[in-house]
Symmetry: C2
Subunit: 460 residues, 2 copies
């Protein structure tokens, strides 16, 4: 490598574990390592390190690496371990777009440290997309199978019904069909926001980054949990055949499984979202201006859900308000529990740990509201035929009402909704199942997955 | 085969799919097939059929069989397909313990048709045991890992805490630790009942069989759902390592996955439980005597949960009453919805389908109550030291309170519990996490799994 050399090379052993293609395939890696200059630590920085000879592919001196062994899935992928022992690299191997180290060993810090967040946030936004894509594949297979498979004569002498006609099958699949659409629109929304914020940052405006970071972290966690559960429910809904590789589900399940773990473990991410929300409830209480989506925290709570009839409960605005109310209540409750814990003399980190359950619920509810609101907005703001609008409207209503049913405690706990309204919610869920059934196959065909992608005998 | 021969052999093609060891290994099979005598069908009966030559292991004439191909798990198991084409077997190959076919082709029906249910019920009882065993393995690995793994400095300069000290980790694992114990005691209880009922049946008393059938079907479904979810949560709780085969989780997950599908698909089973419950609500309304566990349906509903303080909510009797109330309410609601549907002129099968969501909730709540009640009874009725009783009591309280929290809507919907009580439930869940943490490792060590069984680097 041309240029001046200084012994900035790490002189301690580092061990990496898990990166794809690390163990056998890669000749070079970008390694994030602690930068020390004159004994002082400057934090994590990225360095290019060559791992293997370009002549014979053997590991270079001081480098130990290999494959970490069999996994749940991604069997054809080489996931590796890597250790460095006194490996020297040129100074210029440090990636110096944002921070620099001069030839005489002096550090120039980045103009804006947060610029490096960009990739991490972008990857999480991508995971929301990828997850919605995988869930869409799973529901495609399961809905098609359920339309073909017939079971149990209901009227003597008549054909057995398609299992898609059974409410129990619809109850399994349609929430995830609705979620697949919801998360697709969520990914559109948060991707647009990501591009917006990237442009602001390129103009030197960093204001929105914290909120985007918190939102993308939370949405990555929120959606991937549902995606993983959904793929498994779809697999189980096909009975024994879901256990066969020929269904496509084993592959889909094992490939999707890491969504909840990599690029930020889900619980850690939700707690990051919660940390941001706690910071801004302080601001909300002071009546300060809040950026973007989080503005809802500044609004006053309504006492009760105004729904008097089933048709009231089909109103998108009312449904969105319900999720807004619940998110705001849970965020405020978490803040109050934190204050109470600290008031008892607990240090910050102990209070934080004690409040995990409230913080996680708050972050999750915040994301759930975003997903509902984004679904509603997409239908409102996008040009489409009346027929398509009608179908997506039912799906959106179902997503929201089913969500209320599943988390009914949250909506009832403060009296915002009452038992009678919950009865109506359940009744509507049943009616919407019938409506969605009519178009269920069309709704999955609309994802337009090629058979070579689905790799499924059941869902071809 | 000695004895008289008649052409009772099936003359149509049958196809089997999935049975273990069918494709390559077995030389004989017990085949359940329709019995026709003189053109009249007598229903399913069991027949021994030879599949392969004892000389060279080749399939016999008219027999087509083989392995069904790669699966999600059980890779070392041969799961087969099997077809018969005009295969003749001797009359005496029919298993004739209960029903017989004479040499001149006349049918003697079983003294009691229900005796053949015995095996099916017994297998489902076994699945409750097997599931509790697999979940216990999963929590063993996850709790041990969480006690060893340290992460994120909380106080500068001090050792990173064990991740088992984080509430978020406890919230993931302890519900399944409690469930593993709960389901272990459930399996004791339902196994005892099974033996009791078998003895009654041998004396000609069939009264309890329907209830046991409904209970075992429901418990198989209820517990296996939780077991499968729990294994996945335990796997995810170990972060990236849970994706490695070395954790033991991929194997455990894929082996446990069929619990929800085989020996009766879970939804079908819960609907069978519901069918029994609907039959007996009719009886309950008429004030008739009800057998066994189901007696609770005959009791009057209390208006409200009497808990005024957190210590009230720790009372086992009060907690059991809450689950009883919820089960009774949901069973009665399902019955009322059925009546209403039929009242609108819907045929029985349409009303049944329309009410699936209410029927499934009713059956599930019925089983949940059984599990809670059985846990409480086990602690009350079993001799143990005070120290052990104290530990199991906390676990039982946690199982019940966490269950109320997760399904809070059910307890709030009719006003049986209120928001203030739910606040206390959440607060107690937090306090019990701390209590259980102290003994968590001991609680999993108590399962006493050998390392060769766990096959886990994380949980050794």
């Amino acid at each position: 490598w041309p240029g001046n050399y200084h012994t900035h090379a790490p002189t301690y052993c580092t061990v990496e574990w898990w990166p794809g293609n690390l163990g056998k395939t890669s000749t070079h890696a970008v390694v994030l390592a602690q930068l020390y200059l004159r004994g002082k630590s400057y934090g994590l920085h990225p360095f290019i390190a060559q791992l293997r000879s370009l002549e014979n592919h053997q590991p270079l001196p001081g480098i130990t690496l290999g494959d970490i062994g069999p996994k749940l899935g991604y069997h054809s992928n080489d996931n590796g371990f890597l250790g460095f022992d006194h490996v020297r690299i040129p100074r210029r191997n440090m990636l110096m777009k944002y921070s620099q180290v001069s030839p005489d060993g002096f550090y120039t810090k980045p103009v804006q440290a947060k610029l490096t967040y960009g990739t991490m946030v972008g990857v999480r936004v991508e995971i929301v997309s990828a997850g919605s894509y995988m869930l869409s594949q799973a529901v495609t297979i399961a809905v098609r199978y359920s339309a073909v498979r017939r079971q149990t004569e209901q009227i003597k002498g008549e054909k057995e019904p398609q299992i898609l006609d059974y409410r129990s099958q619809q109850l399994k699949l349609f929430p995830y069909l609705a979620a697949a659409y919801a998360f697709t629109f969520t990914s559109f929304g948060v991707t647009d926001r990501y591009i917006e914020v990237q442009n602001e940052m390129n103009d030197g405006n960093m204001e929105s980054l914290s909120e985007l970071h918190a939102l993308s972290a939370g949405l990555k966690a929120f959606t991937s949990y549902v995606v993983n559960k959904g793929i498994e429910v779809c697999r189980l809904s096909c009975g024994g055949h879901g256990y066969s590789q020929a269904s496509g589900f084993p592959e889909l399940y094992t490939i999707a499984a890491p969504l909840s773990t990599f690029e930020g473990e889900n619980t850690v991410l939700l707690l990051q979202t919660a940390r941001y929300l706690m910071k801004f409830t302080a601001t909300a209480k002071r009546g300060g201006g809040l950026p973007g989506f989080v503005l809802y925290l500044n609004q006053r709570q309504k006492g009760q859900c105004p729904a008097r009839s089933e048709s009231d409960l089909l109103d998108h605005g009312l449904l969105s308000d319900a999720f807004e109310h619940r998110a705001r209540r849970l965020v405020m409750e978490a803040a109050q529990k934190m204050q109470s814990n600290i008031g008892k003399g607990n240090p910050q980190h102990v209070a934080w740990n004690n409040c995990h359950m409230y913080l996680l619920k708050a972050a999750s509810a915040h994301c759930h509201f975003y997903v509902v609101q984004t679904f509603v907005k997409y239908i409102n703001d996008t040009e489409m035929s009346d027929a398509v609008r009608d179908v997506l409207t039912s799906l959106c209503q179902f997503y929201a009402l089913h969500g209320i049913w599943q988390d009914a405690g949250d909506f009832l706990q403060d009296g915002y909704m009452n038992g009678k309204q919950l009865d109506m919610v359940l009744s509507l869920v049943g009616k919407l199942l019938d409506k969605i059934r009519i178009n269920a196959v069309a709704l999955v065909d609309a994802f337009d997955f090629r058979d070579e992608i689905l790799c499924s005998k059941l869902g071809a």
